[in-house]
């Protein structure tokens, strides 16, 4: 692997070319394996019931059909849960970003007294947790149950994200901050006007990490919410999939119904995954450099 490029920079050796070829094949296979379920789910969501049941749908919709989309779009409960998910994700991500950024910034200052302790407190939670029931009792007695805070606050700081950010801030040239200090900026001024504008990459990455994890999460909501109208779309989806295997459906006409039974899961999965997938292309620019930032320290 390393033999190739060392010999010559402009002309790759044969070994290196073979390696690249093999690499390409393997990675293509990985891509296919990863993408196929997505494509299949999308195809199923647009397919007719008979074709789905006969197992004919693979990459392309067969017997194009939008009935299930119509049924889901008309379902108030779906949109209510969807709204909840958006609300929980936005609020939680804003809080998580604020807290993680200022915590990481503080930890990146080597001269800070008690820094070791502060890091220790954070890292401790990576290895130990109070456990399910104590956490539940805590949240309940703090009166956070059935509110967005029960989801946002306990998950506000992800220690992994915190450490990545800390490493990023540590890499920032010290001179820059010193120059700002000389020019009369306060500590908060430095963070706000100098450091943050230079940290767009890591911030974009962290926003992505946090929002994806909040968007996909269901467990906190399931634990701390007692009313259906407060559940996020992930819980709705989970319940739908469980129900589809146990209950019979009712309400719509039988024909419509069996169409819905055939692909309501794929339709809902598509609708749930779509927005968060759509975010990726926009932040990818930052994302690629952002994850690596802080990985290697100079």
């Amino acid at each position: 692997m390393s033999r190739g490029p060392r010999k010559s920079v402009t002309e790759p050796t044969r070994g290196y070319r073979v390696f690249q070829g093999v690499n390409g094949v393997i990675l293509t296979l990985v891509v296919i394996v990863t993408l196929y379920p997505f494509v299949n789910i999308i195809a199923r969501s647009f397919s007719g019931e008979r074709q789905i049941r006969a197992g004919e749908v693979t990459l392309w919709p067969k017997g194009f059909n939008l009935t299930t989309y119509k049924i889901v779009f008309e379902d108030d409960a779906f949109w209510r849960s969807y709204g909840n998910t958006v609300l929980y994700t936005v609020v939680s991500t804003v809080i998580a970003m604020t807290l993680t950024t200022i915590y990481a910034y503080v930890l990146s200052k080597r001269e800070l007294r008690g820094r070791g302790l502060l890091i220790g407190i954070a890292v401790f939670t990576m290895f130990f947790s109070g456990g399910l029931i104590p956490n539940y009792v805590l949240i309940t007695s703090l009166g956070l149950k059935n509110s967005v805070w029960a989801i946002a606050l306990p998950n506000a700081i992800s220690v992994f994200n915190l450490l990545v950010m800390k490493a990023f801030f540590e890499n920032m040239p010290k001179d820059l901050e010193e120059a700002a200090q000389i020019d009369g900026l306060s500590t908060y001024g430095i963070l706000w006007r100098i450091v943050l504008p230079l940290s767009k990459a890591v911030i974009a990455t962290m926003v992505l990490f946090y929002s994806v994890s909040f968007w996909n999460s269901w467990f906190s909501a399931f634990l701390y919410m007692d009313r259906t109208e407060l559940m996020p779309v992930t819980v709705y989806l989970r319940n739908l999939i469980a129900g589809a295997t146990t209950g019979s459906n009712s309400g719509a006409g039988l024909d419509q119904l069996s169409q819905a039974a055939a692909n309501i899961q794929s339709v809902t999965i598509v609708l749930t995954a779509l927005p968060i997938l759509a975010v990726y292309p926009f932040v990818q620019r930052y994302f690629v450099s952002g994850v690596m930032l802080g990985a290697v320290k100079g």
Binding site: A54, L223, N239, S248
Partner: protein
């Protein structure tokens, strides 16, 4: 590396510590309830004279928290007529704590463990209540059924005491108020393509020997297909759980998904290991014969439900296990669309050596646990009366199932009919309203059990025919109570799963011909090495102890 080890050991210790703490908290909350048999201070809102058949009405307005299973087929709505009407009739306002069906058990454990459970915890399947007994978090309801005249009356009239006794724990009490059925309701049986049978000129089978003949006739006509390809092999540890279960019942043995490691041998008056009994062997032999002659698809024991259904629809097979709902809504509905002239019907479970029987103990259904916290409430007596009315009185049961007479249904004789414009499980596709979705009746949390009249009132024509045939059969005797003490229980748990796995694996090997049946004796020896006999003895001991203590 060593650092790693240390960390995990430490975290284990910490985890153990927390678990201990949690257990302590849970116990603490249970103890305070006290042994207060004295209910005189807990009469708030209760009726002085409350009798069976009487309408319960709280003497002052009460509210009661209840765990509510949110079924995606009829998602919970606040404006259901059900909630409103309950309050109107009983003066009790129900406050549902909504839990998604997908994770109902998980949340139930969490709420009970943290001492935050609602007073009423329905939709609990025996024996899952046993896990909560030792913490004291749930109430030994058997001590309080004197407050429940309808419950006692039904237990007596339908002779359910032996069944109920099987719910008792080693302290002689039971902790779950189960749903009560007048008659056993059968669930599963064979369904066969009757148009094919007509064409080749054979009648519907009534015994398992005839099933074999019918399968052979189908195979002769369609040598490239299987006569039968089955489902219900995934999402359960039991291969072809349904088929093996109803076949087993015909041989008088608990098999398939009704399998239980121990069975009471009434003649020897002791427990024996089910997987080593003769009847169990006969079941295996029968299945082996079907597979060996290529009548039964060997994939029946491993494939998914979808695959099995697809084979039926694609005429790769001509029979499949069914329940009345699957028969109508899945097989028949889809077959008619895909195969011209196809007809499919469910037969009453064919008879075997055990004669006209069904499994015993099926007249109890899932039911309600009561939180120990409820006993501290001033409204305790009223609550128990309310539970008695809603779940166990004839009016309460009819109300939960069909709703309000004149508004959601009309009744003539014992026949219930929905008002025009209201549908139930697709009964009237054009109806604008749905009994479950829009009114909140026929809700699995509140509707189950009851008299045969009420239970059969919602049967479709197919189910009615099937159930009427099955209802004449006798129940197999149920095992006498044999509650284990907690140390025995722990021991039994360690033995149970490996034994069950061994039985399942070897049943599959025998049936598929991977292990010859001549090795049956060595299979039994293997079971003994896995403590099958000690497990049976443990239960025999518990049975004898219980019989002596409760003589």
């Amino acid at each position: 590396m060593s650092n790693h080890g240390q960390l995990s050991r430490r975290s284990l210790l910490a985890a153990a510590g927390f678990a201990g703490l949690a257990a302590l908290t849970a116990c603490g909350s249970g103890d305070e309830g006290g042994d207060s048999k004295d209910l005189s201070k807990k009469q708030d809102g209760a009726m002085k004279e409350y009798r069976a058949g009487e309408q319960f009405k709280a003497t002052k307005a009460l509210s009661l928290s209840v765990l509510h299973n949110n079924n995606p087929v009829y998602p919970t709505k606040k404006d259901w007529l059900f909630w409103e009407e309950v309050t109107k009739r009983t003066g009790v306002t129900l406050e549902p704590v909504d839990v998604p069906l997908s994770d109902y058990e998980k949340k139930r454990s969490l709420l009970i463990g943290s001492g935050d459970a609602p007073f009423l915890i329905p939709k609990t399947y025996h024996p899952s209540e046993v896990a909560f007994v030792s913490s004291g978090a749930i109430l030994p309801v058997s001590e309080y059924v004197h407050l429940m005249p309808n419950f006692r009356e039904k237990v007596e009239r339908w002779n359910l005491k032996p069944e109920l006794d099987s719910f008792r724990q080693s302290d002689g009490k039971y902790y779950l108020l189960p749903g009560l059925h007048e008659k056993p309701k059968a669930g599963y049986s064979l369904s066969l393509r009757t148009d094919v049978l007509d064409r080749i000129g054979v009648a519907l089978p009534t015994t398992w020997d005839e099933v074999y003949e019918v399968f052979k006739a189908i195979k002769a006509e369609y040598p490239d297909s299987y006569a039968f390809s089955d489902r219900w092999s995934t999402n359960t540890v039991y291969p072809a759980g349904a088929l093996v279960s109803y076949l087993g019942a015909s041989y008088g043995v608990k098999a398939g998904w009704t399998y239980d490691n121990v069975t009471f041998d009434t003649s020897a008056k002791k427990f024996v290991f089910t997987g080593a009994t003769d009847a169990f062997r006969q079941v295996i032999e029968y299945l082996r014969k079907l597979v060996a002659e290529k009548l039964l698809d060997p994939e029946s024991f491993t494939q998914t439900d979808d695959e099995a259904t697809r084979k039926l629809l694609g005429e790769k097979s001509f029979g499949i296990s069914a329940n009345p709902q699957e028969l109508v809504q899945n097989y028949r509905f889809n077959l008619e669309k895909q195969v011209k002239g196809a007809k499919i019907e469910m037969v009453p479970v064919p008879l075997g050596p055990a004669g006209e029987v069904v499994l015993g103990g099926v007249r109890l259904e899932n039911g309600v646990m009561v939180s120990s916290e409820a006993l501290k409430s001033k409204n305790f007596v009223a609550m128990m009366q309310f539970v008695d009315w809603l779940w166990y009185s004839d009016e309460g049961q009819a109300f939960c199932k069909w709703g309000v007479e004149g508004e959601t249904y009309t009744k003539s004789g014992s026949a219930y009919e929905l008002k025009p414009g209201i549908s139930l499980m697709g009964s009237d596709p054009k109806a604008p309203k749905d009994l479950q979705k829009d009114y909140g009746f026929f809700n699995g949390v509140f509707t189950y059990g009851g008299s045969w009249d009420l239970v059969s009132s919602s049967f479709g024509p197919d189910e009615k025919k099937f159930q009427d045939a099955m209802a004449t059969r006798k129940q197999l005797p149920i095992d006498p109570p044999h509650p284990l003490q907690s140390i025995e229980q722990e021991q039994a748990t360690l033995w149970e799963t490996p034994l069950k796995d061994h039985v399942n694996q070897n049943m599959l090997k025998f049936v598929l011909g991977k292990r010859p049946l001549s090795e049956w004796d060595s299979y039994v020896t293997e079971l003994k090495a896995k403590n099958s006999e000690r497990l049976a003895d443990l239960h025999t001991k518990a049975y004898e102890r219980y019989a002596k203590e409760n003589a």
